[in-house]
Point group: C2
Chain length 509, copies 2
């Protein structure tokens, strides 16, 4: 017999490294069955965090009824409650997007604002979204079991109620739209700042649980963003396929597990080829030996993976493949780079006389090239050595200004001295932007509680004019998370509460 849902829930959290002691989550609750079960399980498991609700104001009184329902649920559980009321229709009109896309954008932008505004401690200082109602903090806990000597909880992620059937539908959507290794494995339990702790459970299991626990729920409106498509799979595609393949749900669920490993091994092989084939060759230039490339298999996919970090699309990579059968001097251009056929090499470089000044980095991308070198990107689960215990981190953040001058214990570094950056992945939102620094830029240097202008930071660190011209920064959601090669931002540092670290390593040309 299957173990109770709560047991499987906590086992899943453990297996996927989703939660550390002291973590708390924003619990995204629409009021629909899935999110009501999510909230119930989180409360029973003692996971702290406010209930947050989006009122898209698309269904009049019904939308307000849902909001009131979730507010009441938060009160019953003794949780803080946050709601944002959006003029979704106006947003869709002004941004020229569909209602579905508008709802999705509004929802995740607000969630990330909530997370971003809660840097170390919980609750306090929630930023108001354009049309957010005032946060209503509710009565003390009635249902949550007491946490053992709880430290101040840290908001580390948004928890959403996506379940196994959702993930099967996502995989099928990707498949039918055309996909590769990463689309096949669907949503991951941890991705950017989102945790999906119900990804192990089927819709039916959640329904059974809700019935057994007597949980009330309302019509789910927050899923408006993709409800139409999901219902198409739920009510039409899957039942049709079940006529001939009765076990199709279980089979697709088993596929998802295999496809996740499949992508992992695919990435391993690609990384190995890229390391073997892509040779840095002085400032802002890379070379691929044609003779070596022609022996590599599978050639087409590998050339695409080699060129992707330089901004080449699959179609452009296809054109670059044709360069193998042309003479020296032919080239293919992306927005930021050219790949030029030379006698024995494909040479990758920025177009002559035109310095590239910014590059976007997508989630899952493992390398990015820019004029100052290559940054290798990797995700690591739960690093063993966290930077500081949470209490220390909190007190440090509140300790006040060392202000000007590098912090004690740090040598004056005239040039790039930190090729490696470890960041708390839960705080990082993709796509990242890698760009040249500019006047007016500021960040919170690691170890400081106050922001500092980059221009000032460079003076304090005695950078020469030439050095300064070479400085790039890595941005996430408009905030600098790393002054590449110099210092990470304190708000993104790895702490004892970090479940996944983003590891960035800069190799100079």
């Amino acid at each position: 017999m299957e173990a109770p849902l709560l047991t499987r829930f906590t086992a899943f959290l453990h297996k996927e490294h989703l939660l550390r002691p002291g973590d708390s989550w924003l619990l995204a609750v629409s009021g629909g069955l899935d999110s009501v079960v999510l909230a119930h399980l989180c409360v029973l498991a003692g996971i702290e965090g406010p209930l947050v609700h989006c009122n898209f104001q698309l269904r009049g009184a019904e939308s307000d009824r849902d909001e009131a329902f979730v507010r009441a649920l938060a009160e019953r559980y003794g949780r803080a409650f946050q709601v944002a009321r959006f003029d979704t229709a106006a947003y869709a009109a002004s941004h020229k997007v569909s209602i579905q896309v508008a709802a999705r954008e509004l929802r995740y932008t607000w969630f990330r604002q909530l997370l971003g505004a809660a840097p170390a401690a919980s609750g306090a200082g929630i930023a108001a979204a354009p049309t957010t109602a005032a946060p209503s903090t509710a009565a003390p806990s009635t249902a949550a079991p007491p946490a053992a000597a709880a430290p101040a909880p840290r908001l580390t992620a948004i928890a959403t109620a996506h379940h196994l059937d959702d993930n099967i539908e996502t995989m099928l959507m990707n498949l039918f739209k055309g996909t590769g290794a990463s689309g096949l494995r669907g949503m991951l339990p941890f991705q950017e700042q989102i945790v999906r702790p119900l990804l192990f459970a089927t819709r039916e299991e959640l329904e059974t649980y809700a019935a057994a626990e007597g949980l009330q729920h309302v019509e789910d409106s927050s899923n408006a963003s993709d409800k139409y498509t999901r219902n198409f799979f739920r009510h039409k595609v899957i039942p049709l396929i079940e006529e001939r393949y009765p076990d199709v749900r279980q089979n697709l669920a088993a596929n998802l597990t295999r496809f996740r490993d499949l992508e992992d091994l695919y990435r391993q092989a690609v990384t190995r080829h890229v390391e073997d084939l892509l040779e840095p060759h002085g400032r802002g230039e890379w070379r691929i030996a044609v003779a070596k490339l022609e022996k590599a298999r599978p050639l087409e996919t590998l050339l695409f993976e080699l060129l992707k970090p330089f901004g080449f699309s699959p179609a452009q990579a296809g054109e670059a493949l044709a360069l193998l059968h042309t003479t020296s001097g032919h080239f293919v251009a992306s927005a930021t780079h050219r790949v030029i056929r030379d006698r024995r090499f494909l040479i990758i470089c920025a177009p002559a006389g035109q310095g590239v000044s910014q590059v976007a980095i997508e989630e899952g991308q493992t390398q990015v090239a820019f004029t100052e070198g290559v940054i290798t990107i990797a995700m690591e689960a739960a690093p063993a050595a966290a930077a500081a215990p949470p209490a220390a981190a909190a007190s440090l953040a509140a300790a006040g200004p060392p202000a000007a001058g590098p912090p004690a214990g740090r040598a004056h570094a005239p040039r790039a001295s930190e090729p490696l950056a470890l960041l708390d992945a839960a705080r990082v939102t993709f796509p990242l932007l890698l760009r040249r620094w500019k006047a007016g830029d500021y960040f919170y240097p690691l170890g400081m509680a106050k922001k500092k202008k980059l221009a000032r930071f460079f003076i304090d660190n005695k950078l020469s004019l030439a050095d300064k011209e070479k400085v790039w920064v890595l941005e996430s959601g408009g905030r600098i998370l790393w002054v590449v090669g110099h210092r990470i931002d304190d708000r993104f540092k790895v702490t004892a509460g970090t479940t996944h670290a983003l590891r960035l390593e800069w190799t100079q040309p």
Copy 2:
């Protein structure tokens, strides 16, 4: 504008290394539209080979009408014609399988008999299947362009008319039944003894071509084996999905190309891990260091790939994973091996006191372990150095008996001296059987035109009793293709006509 179908057809043959000068194919023609187009294109491209037709006798007069149609087509094209009439219903009843499975088994068994009975030259010596009608050789060619100084054509494969839509359907079937990397990429253009030269074209393109060329066809009955399922996808599933994803056919076709590369890279990564983790440790024993294994990612899939060559199923590999958390002495058994938890190792060996005497090798399997070592299996496209030009091979086959004694130029090898075997993949049918040799075994030693008993071969090669006890043979369709470590069979050797070689390498423990 798309190039004419014939141009794309020959380009596809070239790109996929499907054909060498002098090759001929058995052209499997049901009389349906797809196979009529296949025959037409092969004739125009000057590809030699008889038309072969299966009469499953399932639809009375209609079945006979189809047979007559294909016979007339062969005459018009000046091709030989072969037909087999099967009592499909009786076969299904006596073998307790469905009509679909019966038709498939009868069809491919007969095709392989036809291929196997035509070792070097074409046409002559076609073996009669149980109910085969006599081969009817037809009038000289009228439509085929003259082949330039054609050598005697060699039958290298069966050509079937599977097209892109078939392959999309196959991929979806695999997906819904549950699959891994190899199921996702569907059928390959070359697999075992089958070539699929229409895999690049859509059903619609074939229909357009047939209409433009004024090609007649009949109802397709040879596809009875999977027609019901294919029609389910063709008429129900795909049209439903097209309601929301109008480009789904093109998207799935592009997926197939990507998934083929995905599998390739997956295999590369798996092979690397297996080579790193699996240590031979004396006769019939392998070890996997637990500390090393625990660091490998993704653990579950890798452990399955490690154990698969030893006969472990995915479920048994899952049980073996649990051995990592048990104490010494616990074990999991497959049909042929045990994996035993030792303090620092997982030890893989044959059960005590019970010598394993045979192991099946599935297509796509890259390694097989047996008591005498490990055989690594790889497919190589069009090896540069073929053993002999076709004329020489043919004359050698007809040259008569060197009979007893090793051929000139071959040293007396008292022990295994040939760890490497290169075979013509087109002649090899999976699954292979690796087994101990037994009294009565015979084969055609490389370079000899006559068969020889293994017992005699061992005497001639001065094997000791102890040596003989260690000899294993590799079988394909009941015929020995390699006396492992000693000699390959002449019928399976690589010739100038070989498009793909099966490379087998034996590593002794």
